[in-house]
Symmetry: C2
Subunit: 355 residues, 2 copies
Amino acid sequence: MGQIHAYQMIAKDKPFEQLEFTIPEMREGEALIRVAGCGVCHTDLSFWHYNVPTRHELPLVLGHEISGTVLDGPPELEGKPVIIPAVLPCGNCELCRIGRSNICQNQKMPGNDFHGGFASHIVVPARYLAMVPESALVDHTLAELAVIADAVTTPYQVIVKSDLQSGDFAVVIGVGGIGIYAAQLAKIFGGMVLAIDISQEKLDCLSGVDISTTLNSTGLEIREIKNQVKGICRELGAPMFNWKIYEMSGTRAGQELAYALLGIAGTLSIVGFTMDKLEVRLSNLMAFDARVIGTWGCKPELYPEVINLVSEGKLKLKPFTETFPMSRIDDIFQQTLEHKLVKRSVLIPDFEGLN
Amino acid sequence: MGQIHAYQMIAKDKPFEQLEFTIPEMREGEALIRVAGCGVCHTDLSFWHYNVPTRHELPLVLGHEISGTVLDGPPELEGKPVIIPAVLPCGNCELCRIGRSNICQNQKMPGNDFHGGFASHIVVPARYLAMVPESALVDHTLAELAVIADAVTTPYQVIVKSDLQSGDFAVVIGVGGIGIYAAQLAKIFGGMVLAIDISQEKLDCLSGVDISTTLNSTGLEIREIKNQVKGICRELGAPMFNWKIYEMSGTRAGQELAYALLGIAGTLSIVGFTMDKLEVRLSNLMAFDARVIGTWGCKPELYPEVINLVSEGKLKLKPFTETFPMSRIDDIFQQTLEHKLVKRSVLIPDFEGLN
């Protein structure tokens, strides 16, 4: 072996370039992983199309939502299936020590700080690799589990940080690739869930995971949506305060709606990203004793809890995940950009001469 | 006796009208209190000048920052000096039960829901009255302690909610009647405190409580202030992340600065109120794993902790408090409105024929 096959980003909107390079010399604490699957995330599109610069200069292999099998590294991991956390903290700094490792300033992210997962293999720090038990591989392939590395764990951390309690009213705005898991997780935590989107197709998908309370907000004014949401809350018998609102759409419209829904003792979680600013009365937070919390990635310490939920069959990934051969990377990026794919795409390495 | 003497608000900006009324029949669980002092708060000015409506219709006796002595009520309280919490929760609802009593929707506020403290006596629910131990009356008069009921406890709850830890960098924007206590409390909690204001006079006051790190932001651009704040943080040897920012000015400029200072793992507390909106990029919260929390009043459960800090001599109220006879109410409201008074004013009843 000795070679890594990969697709690297050359420049904005350009086709990915296939390359081969020698497996870098492994340092203490690193692991060599054979990639099972790598998810296509909105962050990858930010790099490829929306002018967000990668921290490592181009050309660079993108991809940070990776599952695979350890080929070389710490003996206890060898041969084991793992998820690579999208954010790999240093584990030693002040932020890591106060439980904020997800925002560690020395953190490394595959496909951003170094060559990522759109490849046959990857070398990463081994410290935070999350073991995948056999039980998690009954209903899902290892490739499908790649989405845990970002699409699932990010909303998991959000739900935990928002302190969602059983019986709370949980409003998820935007049930795309990440929001779908926010909605599922909110339900698993005991929340009374309302999903809002402008795509009826996405809302319809939710019935597969037993979430039937949805609102298609297409063409509605914020005031009207607010009235409908209040009515739904009342119908569900949920409290009219202490709402947990999750903004997953990453759009100005979504954020405006989310902020408008914030009331007494409410918590708004900002998960979707947009460069757009909006006009808000911050003092509302004071008058409502409310808060807005942002959350970046997920600390690796929480990964085992998420993998457990999948193992126990509580959290379903399969209905929202679709796998493609990695050789279709250009096509899949383009289709994702054009919002043509309803499910999260995971690319599976299919380089010639490998397997 | 049998009569309460008071000053009531008739209409916006109009002189207060002196009145006498019979002490209302006391119900189970209520207490009759002889007012020692009642502070003049910005909220009173909101009612009197800034068109914020009181919940009870006018005319109404304002004033919610009250200390006094229990004349009648539960036997264990009779004859005892007490602070009346500015926010009196019901104690039974869902919000009270989940520890959010400060935002209880059945809460009553003196001088807003019923006749307040600019009076000789007041009748209030006895449940949450905070006992004042002898030790708190060594350095302060009972009248001076009135400011605990809002000016001091509100920032106390803020500091607690922001999870300020020893060694954190704490930035207090606006060191007026409430900010001055936020700064003191942040220091007591072990924070490395920087106070920012546009009034040199207010900043100078801080030396009396051993806070020497100040920044007069008059005429400075936000970018410039930000650079100076970073420099100060570095000089203090405080961490460059996880900043605790307290916006106490209740101005658009203050909030804009506060939001701009928010960085990695930061917490911005919104305490000052303004109707002004501002344009913000909410997604910064996601990118920084940061949060903005609003806080309304202070739950009565925290009052004993604050009174303890005063008893122990750690928290100083006297340098920032000035007492006046209550008969000067018109004059003091006017001067407060015109920002002519640097210290918090407490009005002491001086009705003829009483005492």
